[in-house]
Symmetry: C2
Subunit: 418 residues, 2 copies
């Protein structure tokens, strides 16, 4: 089944909000063999929205909308859909009850604008949004389905998971089976990897595709099989994944679509290990990544962000002499930071970073983008210097990934495929 | 001038990559009075790409593409554009020189796939991409412009800033002047705020729009004026902004489009203050936000993530007795954490968080989403308990925002508009 996602809101066009909804929806739908073919974003403009809806209803079987159904004047989706599908608005007691319940929970005062959210088109099926006040609406026409959901990410996610995807699976049987495998690869540029895999790609069956997704110093490889035979889809990605693992042994640090922080958490948990972090240039990003994983308290000991040399000395026991002689961005200091984190935080493993994230602070000998990273486990310490780029945000993101992977490699004994 | 952005790649459709490029581009273009009207995402599929390009060339004056110009087989943009605009590919010595230069810098080995990136359509103007190997290409037809850029964010940003926007400004004079003002508002739900501003909205001139952008516990209000008179656009948003500031006095913590971390950094810098952070449930996010701001080393002292009670005691001096009596998620503990951070990190101000981010760890008395936050400056300490939701990621994001704002309010003496 072909799906089109339409996201609605001026804030998405003028860049005040990054649309994370549609990526999440895409991931969930593909797992259920719905194929996302188009995404469209329009502003808070009824004519543009209706044009996008009409085009989507012509080229897709399933059309999913997010946004524009809040209580304020710039929210135009409900009325536009009422016009497109015909009929009129009515006051739904059920929706009103849900709004009262939501307000009871959050203790905010009721107001007429919120009450108006209980007005819904009579041409649709209303799906109760138990996470918020704006109802989800489900329209059908000519065997096609359009669903309008709130733009608030956690409301949309709850609706998709609990209502929309189960209902779509009831209405549509899959006409194609989609299987993806993702492998995270370290140590190659995108083009060097493509060259290494040239022959592998030539030998792929026509219904299997390989995609390269560079991300903060790593490349994610994605194998996708799309065929009308479920067994063939599963078998072919299994086979090709096994080939890739043997071609890239030692460079694949995670199968499935595991981020570095999830992959690291899994091996720490499996090994009964704990981790602490001492961050300078990454400024808390590594701790933030590690703690973004639910359940991390079982292996995350804690972290220190020591921007200043003072704190590096005082908290992590970095030697004054080494700071003076080698500078904070050096192998000896970053290794002392990692070992200091072990002592301070009482953890079995530690990661440390010290570098120049930019945009300023570089010198001819240590330009912006120079980052030392160390990892330690028991009595072993490894460290390496990376030359990243000129931009702060990608430098922080890349150094954080490299640091997580360095420890992952150390814990894994540099094993390949998992 | 109306602009359409087309982003290309299966990874965007199936949700393996969140498209952050188009939001950034939208923000930059609006500042220069180019109006983004549509965004479209298509996969690595030539027919879909050509359909999207053709539609965009019909309805927009400017069409900007990102993605699909890497060295690998799934990169189809260049060849599709060559077909759409006619002509053929030729080998550009200039592009080849740039590729050699890039490889010289990064020290990677040259390979034939990368060399092929020097093949460019003869129907376009080539714009050198000094940040990467894939060239930017500029096509014109019937007074309209299409530009194809790499999808790698820092390459695209460099090209937009240094090449594409300046060239677009040379080709097109603005036919409309767009002025935005953003105000960050704390202490209202979206609908309560809309109700408070109902009359204000009714009295807005027809060419001024107000939008509500809820974000992690805050609401960003955006005033937009779009008119053909530059002076009127500027004057009207100034006037309406002043009205909003008086209506919402005490609730507006930042004008312009300043995130909480940028607003806090500005007042700390202005006051010659330094900040330290002691995080439990936010797990490093607050430090990561503060250090995402270039130049933060002038006011950021450092941070500790103390997930365990042990570290709260050992590093931050939290009293054993209070942990036992009140639990880690309590006013007394979070205040001790903030004061402990001041002592440990040697900073003038500090923020601390202690809560239950979820999904597990809640109790009937302290359900998931319970978060205590404290801020301290000199001898003053403030703290508050928030009841957030059931989901880990939004809880961390919201608690981090609330913590930054609590200190901002303390430093500002709870002033309103800045």
């Amino acid at each position: 089944m072909n799906v089109e996602i339409i996201t609605i809101g001026d804030e998405l066009l003028i860049g005040q909000v990054v649309d994370t909804n549609s990526a999440w929806m895409g991931g969930q739908l593909e797992r259920e063999n719905f194929r996302i073919m188009w995404k469209t974003t329009v502003g808070d403009d009824e004519a543009h929205l209706l044009d996008a809806v009409d085009r989507a209803m012509k080229r897709a079987q399933i059309v999913l909308l997010t946004g524009g159904i809040g209580p304020t004047k710039d929210d135009i989706t409900r009325d536009a859909l009422c016009r497109y599908f015909g009929g009129k608005l009515y006051f739904s007691e059920d929706v009103y009850e849900n709004i009262l319940r939501i307000f009871g929970i959050s203790g905010r005062a009721m107001n007429p604008l919120t009450r108006n959210q209980a007005l819904v088109p009579d041409a649709c099926t209303v799906i109760m949004n138990l996470q918020g006040t704006a109802p989800c609406t489900w329209f059908e026409r000519d065997g096609k389905v359009l669903v309008s959901m709130p733009g608030v990410p956690y409301e949309m996610k709850w609706l998709m998971t609990n209502e929309v995807i189960p209902r779509l699976k009831n209405v549509f049987s899959p006409d194609i089976f989609i299987r993806h495998r993702t492998l995270w690869v370290n140590g190659f540029s995108e083009s060097a990897l493509a060259l290494k895999l040239e022959r592998f790609e030539e030998e792929l069956p026509p219904f299997v595709k390989l995609a390269y997704l560079p991300q903060s110093g790593l490349v994610r490889l994605r194998l996708s099989a799309r065929t009308d035979c479920e067994e063939e889809a599963g078998r072919s990605v299994d086979e090709q994944e096994a080939k890739l693992c043997s071609l890239l042994a030692g460079h694949i640090f995670a199968g499935e679509d595991k981020t570095p922080e999830v992959a690291l958490g899994d091996v720490l948990l499996a090994g009964g290990l704990t981790v602490g972090v001492a961050e300078s240039c990454t400024g808390g990003r590594i701790a933030s990544l590690i703690t973004s994983v639910p359940g991390c308290s079982r292996y995350f000991a804690g972290s220190v962000v020591s921007y200043s040399n003072d704190l590096k000395r005082k908290l992590l026991g970095v030697q004054e002499r080494d700071l003076a002689e080698h500078g904070a961005v050096s192998r000896v200091v970053v290794e002392q930071m990692a070992l200091g984190a072990v002592g301070l935080l009482g953890c079995g493993c530690a990661i440390a970073t010290s570098g120049i994230a930019g945009p300023s602070g570089g010198t001819p000998a240590k330009p912006v983008g120079t980052v030392w990273i160390a990892a330690t486990m028991q009595d072993r310490v490894v460290s390496e210097c990376y030359s990243l780029g000129a931009l702060r945000e990608p430098n922080i993101a890349r150094a954080s990934n490299m640091a997580l992977l360095m420890l992952l490699g150390l814990v894994n004994g540099q094993d390949g495929c998992q």
